[in-house]
Symmetry: C2
Subunit: 457 residues, 2 copies
């Protein structure tokens, strides 16, 4: 990509922009700055100090600032800080020039009276559109949809549809699909801009539109919508109410963010980092997020300890037993995590459902048996060769076999149960499953050791 | 969404389609089938038996089958099976009607002589385009790009660009960006279809095109490209060689798949399921995938066991020591996984880089100290209250403190080291880090126990 050349160009640009800001040179600044992609504008803007940022507010129109604002990916506090730096009317204008869905995202992190004051400073129609969207619950279609779509009527021709499109192109968020509605604003069809431009001007929309529209309901979960858009390869999907009135559209860029967020979320939960803590946060804030989990696990661990405590006499007689505690617990924990990961991803992608769930649990039990038998025989041989203890080897081997079967089954059963109870199965994090399986495997190990004590001494 | 109504409609469709297939009624079948979205066509097609599928091959043209084929998301063997069901010339035609990038994906899973035979049956130009793409390495821009883009020249007007677009619209994969090239096919600009349709017919392309094009190099990694497209909210990105010649474009639907795959991959690695095994696979194939990891961990576990074995005399004297082995090992393992997850995601999203990496390791050490001290003090109190053993409590508490500091540091240090050595840091999976930290924590625990033996007896 010629990284060095690119980097040099970027550095040169930054120097130009900074000099223009220093000199309050509005012309050079605007020339250079507005030729950048809004994402690059945003990256420059967020790096400079507040004094220079104030200068930028004077140099850019609210509309230009709105484009930049759409591209920011910053923490909630930073949004609040930036808005507080602007004159209130300027901030209100920036928000009203943003696409409605993005403006709503920003407004959602502000105080209620702050939101109200911005809304009163906006154009009535715009304020109403924003108010409508503010009602929708987080993680639903309503919360991520935008109202800037292009709608046409079925009775139109290609020519008149093209005319509408040209007029709305500048302010619509996505112009590559046109949604066809009837007199009552009910969604009846869709056509792509591609269809439109290859057709003759006099063709009727009804003739070329696709009347089997795939749509989502305003209360649908964003994760389900993401899966649907990924399956159909759509750039946007229409959102309707229960009477099929068109309310808005969800665009692919928001869906990319949803997929990314949900994946991060599942990942952090598997590792029991309740909320993904950003690597730049302080150790105190990181510790605060992780401690609740660790303390739960500490008490679970204490429970394990008290279980082993009951076998203190056994341990005194055969101290060698203790040697294999971490091995058996560890193997059970690891296998459980593997089974958990398969089940959680399967539920998330829809591969695992009501019908196939028993098949999965049986499959996992089978997998546990095969891996358990292999590892069990292996360990038996090792213990026999290493310590010359056939019976101890047998005990450890059978414990591993039993633990692995139980661990794989619980690893798939627990997330499936949680899903059934409408709890996000990803909450059954790795460490939790690990600890549960630790306890079970140690019970099996010491239980068996106790039974066959006379063979061990 | 009126799920029940939708479901009933779908069922009705399926019955219609199946009846048409039974009766060899080509007209009814085509009427109904071709009105479905290709994704729904694909879902119906993949569910029916081979005899009915053969019927479908007779009913659909290769071009219609190609649209359906683009939407299939099936295993490699299934692609091979479907192609072998078709007449060779039909199969070759289907492949040549597919978008080049998707045809290449399918060809990549076939035997070399099979590929060669299909290529000879294709149109020369199409075969050449496919051959060019077959060369690129997996996971690079070249391997996921398509050559069906729309290119125009800078010297054209809006009118002539629109004319080209109308001609190419039917066969281009993405017509919403037009890439501007010079006489030597070098990429010099880009404009969106949105820009094109709002401009006057006589405007020159040079006047309205954006000459600061964001592009990627053909050898760039697909994960980096995904991040870039997500940042810029592009629907497509151009791919160039080192002299900036335009070679192809990557479209957002492929990027959505990349993001999803990479997230799944990181997730499975954290759980040490080397390749995400599909929930529908047999226990043998699942066991085969998991066993290598489990056996590595088994040997690491044996190493832990042999370490504890060295303290057999200590254990014989104070059997109570064994009681806390799983607790200490478990806490260290869990904390390590948390630190690992933060580091791996940080590296993946670019939040953690050369400069910030020492800050992260220090941050993690700090987090380990705070969580370790909290849990350590807690456990000391519990052990004192429960067993009345102040010194044992102190020993367990300090061991937890030391283990957690080491575990958080190794959890972030190991993936950072791997990244430095150009190994995918996600390979440092949860169970691996867990086992490493198990070993370290037990060394700390028994090491200290041995030192202060006289206080314990």
């Amino acid at each position: 990509m010629g990284e060095n050349l690119e980097d040099q160009k970027k550095l040169h640009q930054q120097i130009l922009l900074n000099t223009a800001l220093e000199n309050k040179d509005i012309h050079n600044f605007r020339d250079e700055f507005l030729s950048l992609h809004p994402y690059d504008q945003a990256r420059f803007f967020i790096e400079i100090d507040p004094v220079h940022r104030k200068q930028v507010y004077y140099f850019l129109s609210p509309k230009e600032m709105a484009f930049l604002f759409e591209q920011l990916e910053i923490e909630d506090e930073e949004y609040r800080k930036l808005l507080s730096e602007m004159l209130p009317q300027y901030a209100a204008d920036v928000l009203s020039y943003m696409f409605t869905d993005n403006a709503v995202d920003v407004l959602n992190i502000l105080e209620k009276d702050q939101v109200a004051s911005y809304l009163t400073m906006m154009d009535q129609g715009e304020a109403q559109e924003i108010k409508d969207l503010l009602h929708y619950e987080e993680y639903t279609a309503g919360s991520i949809m935008t109202t800037e779509y292009v709608a046409i009527e079925a009775s139109q021709t290609v020519r008149s549809a093209m005319f509408i499109l040209k007029n709305e192109a500048a302010k619509a968020e996505m112009i590559y699909y046109l949604y066809v509605i009837d007199e009552e604003k009910r969604l009846v069809g869709v056509l792509s801009l591609r269809d439109l431009i290859i057709e003759e001007d006099d063709t009727m929309i009804t003739e070329i539109m696709n009347d089997r529209v795939v749509y989502v309901s305003v209360s649908d979960d964003q994760e389900d919508i993401a899966r649907r858009m990924k399956d159909y390869n759509f750039l946007a999907i229409p959102v309707v109410d229960f009477q099929r009135h068109l309310l808005g559209i969800i665009t692919i860029d928001d869906i990319v963010d949803v997929i990314d967020e949900e994946a991060s979320e599942d990942y952090s939960k598997l590792a029991a980092v309740s909320d993904m803590d950003s690597p730049s946060k302080s150790p105190f804030s990181a510790a605060k997020k992780r401690l609740p989990w660790l303390i739960v696990l500490l008490f679970l661990g204490m429970f394990t300890a008290s279980l082993i405590g009951r076998f203190e006499d056994t341990l005194k007689q055969v101290a060698l037993l203790a040697v294999f505690i971490p091995l058996i617990g560890g193997m059970a924990g690891n296998t459980g995590t593997q089974a958990l990961a398969v089940a959680v991803r399967g539920i998330a992608t829809g591969d695992v459902n009501e019908e196939s769930k028993w098949k999965l649990i049986l499959r996992e039990a089978g997998t546990g048996f095969i891996t358990g038998a292999t590892c069990g025989i292996l360990i038996m041989i090792i213990v026999y060769v290493w310590k010359g203890e056939l019976f101890l080897g047998l005990l450890v081997g059978i414990s591993i076999l039993a633990s692995l079967v139980v661990a794989t089954m619980s690893g798939s059963l627990i997330p499936l149960l949680m899903d059934k109870l409408n709890i996000d199965p990803a909450v059954a994090s790795g460490p939790f499953i690990t600890t549960i399986n630790d306890i079970i495997s140690i019970l099996i190990y010491f239980g068996m050791a106790n039974l066959f004590m006379n063979h061990l001494i």
